[in-house]
């Protein structure tokens, strides 16, 4: 299954590209599929593309859930 982790947009670049911060890791993605995204916004990213913009409060709650997960013992594979 595919997890929807909110990524924070930290920088806009040329050609519809942007730098995001995902759990402390920065990488460049494309904004070609979404409109009206600015630094500070949260987006859901899928293989290099922002899929949708998130409400900041919703993003915060989701990040807390994932933080709880990361702290928990990993499940046996």
């Amino acid at each position: 299954m595919c997890l929807a982790i909110p990524a924070k947009v930290v920088e806009l670049r040329d050609n519809d590209q942007a730098v995001i911060d995902l759990a402390g890791v920065r990488k460049e993605i494309s904004l070609a599929l979404v409109d009206d995204v600015w630094p500070g916004d949260y987006v859901i990213v899928h293989v290099g593309y922002a899929l949708q913009k998130l409400d900041p409060e919703e993003a915060r709650k989701t990040l807390e859930l994932f933080a709880g997960l990361a702290a928990a013992e990993p499940e046996a594979a």
């Binding site: 299954m1 595919c2 997890l3 759990a23 070609a32 859930l65 990993p74 499940e75």
Partner: protein, 367 residues
């Protein structure tokens, strides 16, 4: 392990051929950890929040399960077939317009994909039983322009590979050019003897799949049916269409037939009422819900204990298709390995034809 997940594809070669292939979905299996112990009515919200790519579908499944499992939540936004159809079209369009052109060395059609997202958006807002045909017309017009070069209904009338040749030769859209190139190269690439998962029989999911999930703690990671892995996705859904059946007869169940199936499935999703889904109560506090997503069958299985979630398991399409002995692993064995770059291209193409929902890392070595 990255929390986003990654599919690590490992290829071993011997005597100029692929001797072994495996795919490890390196992603956290979190459903049970997240859901167990929570109040039953939290599940739909959680599922919608956590799962991006099939998020809508996951949320739908949870709601369905809720209704069937006797949970307290009000069932709002019951899965709408149009939503499932829209997601399916969007995902197929992504492969056809962006991912596959890249693999084939052609220009990705990102603008066409973005246009599709806009054209498909009204379908999301349209009510299930609305008499308004305009959103569907708009979506079909986009598909005609960007992908099919003809109305989806007309594409569905193409009933053999021979008849498809005319469509390929006209190259009315970049997608037709792409498909012509892919099929000219090696339409039998990665063909496997793995059978297709049953499709279209709701009772099968409830009566056969639910007990199979319950009996096997590893089912979520390596699902199988009657002791054998199966293929799910567009090919399994459209295998009964004459064009797809002909493609399978000629090329086997491999990358070429899957491309054709993808086109047929896209056209069918735009034409038909929408995706297949359902939810069935299997007793007090026990239910199974499912949806045919773009990638294949997605199942949520839940049992309640004292009004709280006891067990919550999700069986996703990627686990069927990338089973250790499944369509990818068996299809890759025997591929020519003399040219390392060509092998990687072929394997990546085979992987993409099975459409994992996570990024792919490729590793190759000698056996």
């Amino acid at each position: 392990m990255s929390i986003e997940g990654e599919l690590v594809v490992r290829i071993e070669t011997a005597s100029g051929r692929v001797s072994r292939a495996s795919a490890q979905a390196d992603r956290p299996r979190v459903a049970n950890r997240l859901f167990a112990g929570r109040a039953a009515d939290e599940a739909p919200v959680l599922a919608g929040t956590l799962f991006a790519i099939c998020g809508r579908s996951q949320a739908h499944r949870s709601r369905g399960r809720q209704a069937a499992g006797g949970g307290a939540a009000a069932v709002t936004g019951w899965p709408r077939a149009t939503r499932i159809a829209r997601r399916t079209v969007q995902e197929h369009a992504w492969r056809l317009l962006v991912d596959w052109p890249r693999l084939a060395g052609l220009a990705p059609q990102v603008e066409a994909l973005a246009g599709g997202r806009k054209a498909l958006a009204p379908l999301l807002d349209a009510g299930e039983d609305t008499a308004d045909a305009a959103p569907r017309r708009e979506a079909s017009a986009w598909a005609r322009e960007a992908i099919l070069g003809m109305a989806p209904a007309d594409f569905l009338r193409i009933d053999s590979v021979e008849a498809l040749q005319g469509w390929l030769a006209r190259e009315e859209t970049p997608v037709a050019t792409l498909v012509a190139r892919l099929l000219a190269a090696d339409p039998s690439l990665g063909a496997s003897d793995v059978e297709l998962l049953p499709y279209g029989d709701d009772r099968w999911v409830a009566r056969a799949l639910a007990p199979a999930i319950d009996a096997d703690a590893q089912f979520d990671a390596a699902p199988q049916w009657q002791g054998r892995p199966r293929e799910t996705g567009a090919l399994a859904r459209t295998g009964g269409h004459p064009l797809v059946a002909d493609a399978i007869a000629r090329w086997g169940r491999g990358a070429g037939a899957r491309v054709v199936a993808r086109l047929v499935d896209l056209a069918a999703a735009l034409e038909a009422a929408g995706g297949r889904h359902g939810a069935i109560a299997l007793g007090e506090g026990s239910a199974i819900a499912w949806v045919e997503t773009a990638r294949g069958l997605l199942v949520h299985r839940v049992t309640l204990e004292g009004g709280r979630i006891g067990a919550y398991r999700i069986v996703a399409p990627t686990e069927w298709n990338f089973h250790p002995d499944g369509a990818f692993a068996r299809g890759a064995v025997g591929m020519a390995a003399a040219d390392a770059a060509a092998l990687e291209r072929g394997v990546r193409w085979l992987v993409s034809s099975l459409d994992p929902c996570v990024a792919v890392r490729y590793e190759a070595g000698h056996a």
